[in-house]
Symmetry: D2
Subunit: 283 residues, 4 copies
């Protein structure tokens, strides 16, 4: 098996983990290159079998963008902390990577969303996101207003600090902070969640991912921006409309057979943790 | 075209609407029977072409249960108020029903969920729901605890006043009151939403409807119950486990081509209504 | 110093804690009686100096009701778990109780609310609550409707599963499960929080505790009830109106100088716990 | 009676309203000056009896800052839309202003909060706010972290897009969009509400307004700012600590005897509006 990897070796603990991984892989897999920082790894399509990302969920998010077009699955190795995406641990390589190196692994397909921001100058910004597209206002209190359409059908307008459209993968990121629901991995849907909406009655909406979402800025302010996976791709004041739809591609990730998405929720977000109430309940 | 209908003619405005409908249908469709109150209309399978429900969303909810097995689509006629399910208006029959009587209509398939409550005495209560399965505690402060599994994978435990598992149709009913998201009609998912959970960190979870949800009561109290579309089907203290899964059947509803689900949200729930802020925004 | 105590000695760990406490108190304080289960301890006014409650927050809630009229402060001793009210630990008596037995302690005054439920038969149920008055519907989906007035000024009507009116002490109990805010101890306010409201736009309201809150049932169902600190005091269908106002009395509790209310929030409710995000933040 | 007024007469409808007001006031009150745009009107202390603000709530917010030190109450006149602060209508001057010009009016005291941002260069920014102090992060996903203390007691840290500390007046503004509770006017409290917190378990906290709130930036990003009533007063990266406490002054506003704060909530925010459910309830 041939593999590329992504590791920010300027970080000491990552460099150490790379050493551990290299030793472990010796004689089992051929390590081609550290692609960290490369924008595009499509040239490894058909050459590498898998990509290994050493770091946390943030590292995988970056690698996912580089791997678009390469069509190879990624395995995320964390350094001590379970992640939503970095499901394997550098401390327990032997538990799973012997099998992975033999090509025995299950792949989970993660929904990707394409975003096209059509600008007033006639150009179009195109980007693909694994987590979310967020439209954020600039300085506070300068609320922005947008119109939302789903499959050309007007849905509602939204006044507030902005809006997030997330994938199931991204539902546990910014969406969750904004009050959105958790969406399980295999649901074919995206969620539209407002950011500090002025309307008391606005609620997140879960929409079939095969639908096309259009967002039209009505009133914006300086500093408002369109962001994909946390990176600004356009100033909102230059944008005429934003189209978000399912990407024909998926991001493929090698899943850990010993861990469920619920484990990660409980561990990372302390989701649904019980209070120290027991005594009361007994009384 | 042959049709059955559902109408609670003891209600004066419903009786009047039936008269209006009868007159309008004369010579265009053959009206077979008022099936209101009948538990099962499966004998009309292959005989009636459609079912017309005259009343509000609640009437359609009841009719949906009767029509299981009949396999005919329903058209809901409201009396003045747009509904999520009762999409047609008695005041504008001519706009849509000429076409419907000619068999020209689009059908929307609504996800149904089956619930099996396995009881300690070995019997099983089975029911099908269009909106939701709700597990509710009895008198307040006697909180209940349940374990939740999805496809045999432990998800979390839930301590509080109960839990709701809803379909997209039911997402705008009890689920919404409990803080859950709106789920668009064609999303293949159900939502698990806690009722007044003790955990500060519990959030609604949207799960693929092809998954099987199991709920195990851990500690319950007198008066706790399992409810399908608002009807109690079992006392929770008699129940060992509750299995919820997608029904192989759908509820088919004739949709109004001039109205979207977003219209109903805006009208019925005053969803996403803007505040009277305009003046401020201009300043 | 003379003291009474409250301890449910049928519970083994409570009985053991009582023994530890008795030994510790020997020669330092005179222990008069175990008042557990007594409804009224007003006869100890002027006789006992303090009341010691051995148990959790639930035990103190019960003792608070018994101590109305006695006018003596209570010290809560938990058995291993910090509580909002049970601030002292049986394992560290020497740290605080030597001082307490010498009369050196600070007292925190907790707001109590009086509730008068005026019944249709002309009688009035009166009760005093430390946590909250909750009005709950019976079986699910049989939503209830109430009109709320503050100082005779109509505030709003509320359709849903009910309503909670809580003190600052009770803000971390049922109110929090229902989505209400945390109210710090010394705020002179109560919070009105709806239970699963039908209105998307309902929000909790914090009201000056010197105001009088009136609640009028508009439509109720069998099984709806009025509850004070978790105990049913009236069936809602028998009730014409419910008046809630600040009690002229307070519940006095001896506070732990080494612990803040924020400690209890962080410990008991895992309030504001950070996710395991650190790695991401560094990236 | 002598009065000053605030009116942005560049706005046509405001200029027209000023004319209506002038005519109405002729012979009843002496109009001194349009103070719109003036930063400080303290020189009118003892000279003018009241200030009249013609515009919406935003206009009054601006005027409130100018009137600090003048010690005269303000009456807000809206142009067609009821406001929280602009309680009188230009269309119904005769209903209330004859009495007001005779000095017969009730004044409502609004809590003001002082904010001191101590900067790393040793200087201090001081500002007084009627609505809120908001600390906001810059570009999205660059979350910030702050430590919060109340009366020198550590409360919690907060990771997310920022934090809002609001007065009761401000509770219906940014705080409400961020999920905070409504706080009635006469409650002596402020509310600390997080903006898109990373912690699932963070809840708004209502704190006695006599307490001192200290906020310490732990990790910030470029573009993070400290804002008072929507105006940026400092870049967060230059700030060492932020102290928020009750101002010894109040903002005095002439209240409309025919309108309650609940009316404004229902009108402006469509608070607690019932859904179009009636039909269902009847069924």
């Amino acid at each position: 098996m041939k593999l590329i990897y992504f590791a920010d070796t300027k970080r000491k603990e990552v460099a150490e983990a790379v050493e551990i991984f290299r030793k472990f892989a010796e004689g089992k897999a051929e390590i081609l290159e550290n692609c960290f920082g490369r924008k595009n790894c499509a040239d490894y399509a058909g050459i590498a079998d898998i990509a290994v990302v050493i770091g946390g969920d943030g590292s995988i998010l970056h690698a996912a963008h580089s791997l678009l077009g390469a069509g190879i699955p990624a395995a995320g190795i964390n350094m001590g902390r379970l992640g939503f995406l970095a499901e394997f641990s550098i401390e327990h390589l032997e538990e799973h990577f012997n099998q992975i190196f033999e090509g025995r692994f299950a792949v989970e397909k993660k929904l990707l969303i394409n975003c096209e921001a059509a600008k007033k100058d006639g150009t179009v910004e195109r980007v693909c996101a694994l987590n979310d597209i967020a439209i954020n206002s600039g300085r506070p209190f300068n609320t922005i207003e947008m119109e939302i359409e789903v499959n050309s059908s007007p849905v509602t307008s939204c006044v507030g600090d902005g809006i997030v459209v997330c994938t199931p993968t991204g539902s546990t990121a910014y969406n969750l902070s904004a009050g959105g629901p958790i969406i399980s991995n295999d649901v074919e849907a995206v969620c539209i969640t407002p950011l500090n909406p002025h309307s008391l009655s606005f609620r997140p909406v879960v929409v079939d991912s095969r639908k096309v979402i259009q967002i039209y800025p009505i009133s914006v302010n300086d500093g408002s921006s369109v962001n994909a996976d946390g990176q600004t791709i356009a100033e909102l004041k230059d944008v005429e409309s934003i189209k978000i739809e399912k990407s024909p591609q998926n991001f493929e990730i090698i899943s850990n057979p010993d861990s469920t998405e619920w484990d990660a929720l409980a561990y990372k977000l302390k989701w649904a943790q019980k209070p120290h109430y027991k005594e009361n309940l007994e009384e």
